[in-house]
Symmetry: C4
């Protein structure tokens, strides 16, 4: 069996989405990439989470062709693959229909950075993709979704803003590993929830200033980070 450790990490990332209340029934999926092998491990489509085992993960190449696994991969696999090809540093992708992040995607509104919780994880607003064209929808729909995400980052650094809202659909998140992608999905939902409340309390709420946004992001990321323990960060 290929990629035993990656399968376990991907399964664990999928289960983290369940534990944190981000998925209903079989919604959502997380994957991980082994860049040396050029292989992706992803959750199978429509299988109840409580039954998932490492051996159920489906292995595909970077064109989305299954190379090991008896089950169908998640129907969103072509989107994951596009992200791995477009964003060279990422090693994990998580997709959910979590309640508030999905609402922002449905509202086609970028999530402004209203506070330091957001700034700790996302170095700028969380962007929204363009709507797909009719041709993209009726063609290679899932792959085009990945391409639309890629285009949304033409002037953005995906390592600093590890999340996107697909217009009318839901969020995709990523990170160096499947675990970090799932972690970012959990934080995105929390940030989306608080941003929604913020607007309801004060419709004129202002985004954080650039200096504070930088301060918090860089307190946790990069060579001068000083949050957390040295060994574990």
């Amino acid at each position: 069996m290929l990629l035993k450790t990656l399968r376990e990490e991907v399964l664990e990332a999928n289960l983290e989405l369940v534990r944190r209340g981000l998925v209903l029934y079989t919604f959502g999926n997380a994957s991980g990439l082994d860049r040396n092998e050029g292989l992706v491990a992803i959750k199978p489509s429509g299988v109840p989470y409580e039954e998932l085992k490492p051996e159920h993960m489906v292995i595909s190449d970077l064109e989305g062709v299954v190379v090991e696994g008896k089950l169908r991969p998640s129907s969103d696999l072509p989107t994951h693959v596009e992200l791995y090809k477009c964003f060279p540093n990422i090693g994990g992708v998580a997709h959910t229909h979590s309640e508030f992040a999905t609402a922002w995607a449905q509202a086609e509104t970028p999530i402004p950075c209203f506070g330091t919780t957001h700034a700790d994880y996302f170095h700028g607003p969380v962007p929204v993709t363009e709507r797909l064209t009719t041709g993209e929808i009726t063609g290679e729909y899932e792959r085009e979704t990945g391409r639309a995400i890629c285009r949304a980052f033409s002037n953005l650094n995906p390592d600093s803003v590890p999340a996107v809202l697909v217009a009318g659909h839901a969020p995709f998140c990523w990170g160096p590993t499947a675990a970090s992608a799932a972690h970012n999905a959990v934080v995105l939902e929390y940030v989306a929830r608080m941003a929604s409340h913020t607007l309801l309390i004060n419709a004129e709420s202002r985004p954080l200033g650039r200096e504070l946004h930088d301060k918090h992001f860089l307190r946790k990321h990069g060579s001068n980070a000083y949050y957390g323990q040295v060994k574990t960060q």
Copy 2:
């Protein structure tokens, strides 16, 4: 005892409503139909869910006349029966007062299709019935509720839009089985919740375009569906 398997399926569908947080106290009810026998199994009225056993389910014919069971059937039985007569392909009905779907019913506002989560299950907005007339309320109220639902689908396909909001009351959902009716009730609540947040974030939110709505619905339903596993779908 008649319809042992159907009783168990109906009990399980009722318990699914509880597990998913859709019912308070004895609110809500699910039923199932055996079209060969022309018999319905439904939850009894006002009995605590934790005490329910298969033998408590009440069996009625398609006129709502009880043919087996010592307990009174749910007072909404005549509504269920009308739906079974009006919608020829359905085999299960679930009725809840779930929090957000009920709020949309109370607001007498159809739930627009704001995203693919909705489109995966409901091929169009979830409609609202007309208010009942005084005569309908003081007459065969529960049966008239079923007839009002039937009228709301005079130009809609109930197999593609397996849910309705009864004005000033709450949702009814259905499907080929009692389990699928309960499943649709759970998803409807989730969709209603996200649609409400969507409007709060952006009061000008636009429904999904027809192409993407079709794409997602047909990705999960019909002869070209490719979501899930072949054997389990």
Copy 3:
């Protein structure tokens, strides 16, 4: 020890408020009345719920004078006593600071009857009291709160509308027993929650018509009720 059964019923009603998520820390209190004895059993003030035992309940007369119990009664006891004197048919009172019902009380807005869930329990809008005067606040504050509730029902039947919102404070609910008072408090919170969502979805939402409001209330209450089982209702 006086009133052993009533103590147990009152304890159970208090614990129901906890189980249903209506109380934070030591907030809230429920009491029961034995009209034959003219004695009230009520939760002690500020004692953690998990430690409560029947013998901790405090027994007072209808003037609020403690006749048995080593602990101080809930500081709201004088409000409960006023309600027992003003509303001749009630045998239980429950007071919580539950999240949405309290928000309506703080908004000083009666809860309109937007749907049948409301109509099943409350035969009209849930009213709000007048604000207390400075003299009432600095005088017998808790007793004056009870009197303000009583005045709010000068043209209302407390048996048909078993709840009130005290302006700037929180709800009080009641019923024939402590258990029914707690049950009404749980349903009131659910109704308050849905009414809030209803307004957000459609600010022009209309209350239920009188006929449907009557129909649902009388389906569950009075001599022609037909909801639930004959023996248990």
Copy 4:
């Protein structure tokens, strides 16, 4: 090992924040002060709560210099230290990014006293700090955050209003002990949640009058308090 009891109290206060749903992952931190020793015990930075033991608490002096502990202290330690120096009666500080209190901080809107739940704990609106200047952000950021809080209380009594909203960040709460600081953080989140709902129900909601605000605060605090049991208050 220094301050064994204080370490246990601080750990317990941190765990209370978790039990009450105020923290996600490693967000948040609580500390306690021994004024005789001039030493603070605080949670280490970025360590999962489920692994925390008393010996992991980090001990610092009132300048924020670590005097015992192998782990890095919470990065917010300089803020805690400033509060201990500015507010002479407090012995505990709790900082969370709890959902609704953080939303009010992000909206840069003081929480009005809409009801008696608020008045029971906070004798006035919960204030918001000024935004920090660029120099403060790029300088001793966490210490400046503490100074901004201190300035926000130049005309307020921190013993009567034991909470603040740091603009664009989140709440800090305090009290005589770490336990009371955590308790106040839990109540603040509940009050923030209800205040938000109150505004949605009625955008013209009025704050509580001064007399009732005083009445409730003084019913629970000071020499004439009569809430709770004599021995436990």
